[in-house]
Amino acid sequence: MELRFDKKKNLEEGLKFIHFYAEWVKKVPNEVWSKQQAELINSFMLNAKNFMMSREKYLEMMEKK
């Protein structure tokens, strides 16, 4: 199978979701969006504790970025 990646179409799809998400955030009370956001971010933060890279490697990676 040959994969074709259309960068422009990918951005358009991303922006469609952003419009949809922003409208939802504007519509619901703060408790609702922030509760869902907290669940996601807290799980990222928990996972970050298992980050095994040394600070030297991390800084090297960030410099390359």
Partner: protein, 199 residues
């Protein structure tokens, strides 16, 4: 989102504070004892509702003198933070003087971290002079004005940055100073209309 935006102040009531917010609020409470600061870029959109993580919090500070930096270094170290860069206080201060960023995290962690740099151009200085105060659940922090944040994100121009710009536009288009937004878009030579940011 129940969001009150007036005269550069953003009030978000009843927000559930997540662990990333806690990390940033704890850090900025100490930082503001030493200098003005403003948070820019990725964390700004997370704070304002986008559901995604960020590993570093981009923060701009005003230039501080060496003795104040020494106190800053000592205070953060005593409070359980460490500097990821392999430098002592003198070396870190030199890095800031040379326009480089330094990174600070809680002990035994790398992510999240604060990426701290000293203001170096007119946009950084404008952000500090006109910072927006965000009030959440009795806490406060300072972010770059939305009118500059949107063009800056477009200027960075990765897909993720464009999405962030569009998200902020969708959220604030009825509230922001469009004349000011247009001015910054012209100065940064960016266009919003291809992405629906029409001013």
């Amino acid at each position: 989102m129940n969001l009150n935006y007036e005269h550069g102040k953003i009030i978000i009531e009843n927000k559930i504070i997540n662990r990333l917010d806690e990390f940033v609020l704890d850090f900025t409470k100490v930082l503001e004892k030493y200098t003005d600061y403003v948070i820019v870029s990725r964390y700004v959109v997370v704070l304002l509702g986008r559901a995604r993580g960020t590993e570093d919090i981009d923060t701009i500070i005003r230039c501080i003198d060496k003795s104040l930096f020494d106190s800053f270094y000592k205070d953060f170290t005593e409070k359980g933070y460490y500097f990821l860069n392999l430098e002592d206080a003198d070396g870190l201060y030199e890095m800031l003087e040379e326009g480089m960023e330094i990174r600070i995290a809680k002990e035994d962690t790398i992510i999240p971290n604060i990426e701290l740099k000293v203001s170096k151009d007119d946009f950084d200085r404008y952000s500090l002079d006109n910072k927006s105060e965000v009030i959440i659940e009795g806490n406060h922090l300072f972010i770059c004005p939305i009118e500059l944040q949107i063009p800056y994100k477009l200027y960075l121009s990765s897909d993720r940055d464009i999405e962030d710009a569009v998200y902020l536009w969708d959220l604030f288009k009825e509230k922001i100073d469009r004349r000011l937004l247009k001015k910054f878009m012209e100065r940064l030579h960016v266009k919003g209309d291809p992405h629906g940011i029409e001013i």
